[in-house]
Amino acid sequence: MKDVVIIGAGIIGCFLAYDLSKYDLKIAVVEKNMDVASGATKANSAIVHSGHDPKDGTLKALLNVRGSRMYEQICKDLNCHYEKIGAYVLACGAEEEDTLLQLAKQAENRNIPFEVHTHQEIVSREQNISDEVTKGLWLPSTAIITPWEVSCVLMDNAIERGTELHLNTEVTSIEKMNHGYRIVTSKGEMMSKVVINCAGVHADEVTAMVNPHPGFTITARRGEYFVLDHLKDPVVSIILFPVPSSKGKGVLLVPTIHHNLLLGPTSDPIDEKENVDSTKEGLAEVREKMHKLIKNVPMNQVVRTFSGNRPSGSTHDFVLEEDDLNPGFLICGAIESPGIASAPAISEYMIEHFVSKRLQLLNKNNLPALVLRQRLLSEMSDTERNDKISKDSRYGKIVCRCEQISEGEIVEAIHRNTPVLTLGAVKRRLRPGMGRCQGGFCEPLVLKILARELKLSLNEIVLEEAGSNVLLEKR
């Protein structure tokens, strides 16, 4: 019998596993995909919003403000990337300026640092700002992270503290028992006192497994992006938002931790919840809308496109509750933006309000030391690096030319606590294949290393999910 089963290993599931594993509990995380952080958490704008935007009185407002204040320390503790690069909300014309000033007021009420800048002031910082922009709300506490990096390191720690992670395991039904729940998965069953549903776009369906009338439904809203190469002269060095509209935050420009630039997202409701195809229309919309904020974007430097699906709830707020009919069945549903920014606070909120009511939370004795993010050769001094190579020469063999990643680092990543089973997972740990050549050179090499380390044949290696094999048969 488990104490807690967490369904879904997105950033919410990972934070909960991390936080709960500090206590003396038996925890399992069940994830249908082959890697953690492979739902909405792998395809978004990666912004830790300051918390100025959500409406007063919502969970989104409460938890975004709180989450945004928690991130820096958490990332520092885990050696994860976190950069407070700041953001502008940009208004074009009088009407938008009104909205902008309302947002400024909201920021003030929430004790979020802000300044209102004129066109000139903005241009003196960011020369490529469009001429149409009249005013800007400067939000210096806005930060960027790499959501999958944070999720993986959180999960590394949860596992270090005894949490079980079941990848490639889908929850198919849940049955309420006398003391807890029976969770049936594609790989067998387990029993648990408490279940936390963190199933992203499927959170409504998973709730429906125990309650035929869940209080919310989820629509997937797709957001499409372009990714620009890292440029010698970056187009912008901070985040740019348009003034928000009823459709959401609009098309943004977001520098990433690795100096790429994201352009997007769109916001289109789709029927198939997991369909993350790119569309001609979506990409055209991004191209068109970004011009409102920026000029001189070298679109010939696009290295890829991607899209992610927001779990948008019918209640327009996060659904954080215990199911009415099912004590101990907890729901983290409809976690759309600012879900990344709020994640640590969502976990804290769930534990304080619900988990602690159902389980006794006793601190674990002998909590192991924190597992930090893998340190890369590129972060080491030459001496340190040579030291590493002399101990294991594979650290000298560079596999990925674009991102300069060695074989040793890939092997190290594969054998960390959180399993690395796919090419996509290697990419999300270390970035080979995310650079200019998009894996043209290194994919065959990474595939071989992965097959060797996992003791599989080359054609058994998949890109992402089961069935996405790269190679078919021997010639």
């Binding site: 195809d277 000298g396 894996g439 890109l463």
Partner: protein
Amino acid sequence: MKTVDLVIVGAGAGGLSAALAAWNAGIRDILILEKENDTGGILNQCIHTGFGLHTFKEELSGPEYAERCAMMLKDTDVNIQCGTMVLSMTKDKILTCSSAEHGLEKIQARAVVFASGCRERSRGAIQIPGSRCAGILTAGTAQRYLNIDGWMCGKRVLILGSGDIGLIMARRMTLEGAKVVAVAELMPYSNGLPRNIKQCLDDFGIPLYLSHTITQIEGKHRVSAAVLSQVDEHLQPIKNTEKRFEVDAVLLSVGLIPENTILEEAGALIHPKTRGPVVDEQCMTSLDGVFACGNSLHVHDLVDFVYAEGQRCGQGAAAYLTQSLKQEKCVQVGAAGNVSYVLPQILHFCDAKLFFRVKTPMKNCAVVLKSGTKELKKMKKISLLPSVMEEITVTKELLEQCEDDLTLEVTSWN
């Protein structure tokens, strides 16, 4: 820190040829750094024949050509260090590289040749809508999987782009038992060599759809189908011209880009059109003593041209190392009209060859070299194709007549 007279980055046809030329010109301290475990570069995965007709007067396969190049260095003391990736270089020619054997090393070079080849344009760069599932590969990666690793990446294949690698792979996959349903090309003409269209498509009955592009890729985990649409004169897809092909792989052969990240980061001027460095007739970049040749300078379709360019480059590097004086006087060379690019972009006053490509096919035309408005040279051409690199020679005497920068253009012949 180790110091070396001439460091060559890359041991493909370009690097090996540059090394030999520099050796023959008297340079004795030469080090080639190559990231792979073997020399030969991209030639190693080109197991088809068709290499070396100019250089060796024989039709060789890629690996045989590579072997010839390596053999020619056997009697020299050129040092080849394989398994070594060059990571960066400073303006002062200090290279940082990494290998399993020697760890992280810094090397001070007196001259450097970049012969680091090219990379393939990827799917992201051309933004094909649809699924991003497995089974979408660049043709070169598929070639590597097949010819080096021995694995097929698909059994029913659609190829986008009629560049040479795509054409060669159409034949190669067919010979291995796959069904290549079509090759689609966005432009109204192919970017591949005419001989490859004949030998790789026509001879196997593989249809070539000109003025077509992929407008949708379907598939959840692996490709299940791809949709082709015809494009109009603005290269925009035309509605209701869709053809759907059930395939399990899509190969992209949509262009090659010179690989110059290190040079660019060191501060070399990069030409927006070739995407290689700006060079003079000896292949010297805007960085003093730093040279480039082969596919890292501009994309070549024939290895023989890479070889010849490597020779010029090696001789240039040798001249730089041995002659104290370099001629100062030079002119810039630019492309105009239907000329897509000319190389070199800088000419000192000496006998030299200009290499160029056209943007679109042209018949019965004149290649005109001008200095300002003055016509220096005019040459008739029956046919010019974007896939074929052309050349025009200039002499010292001719250059001495010019008062202004040079432009090369093509016009119709009349």
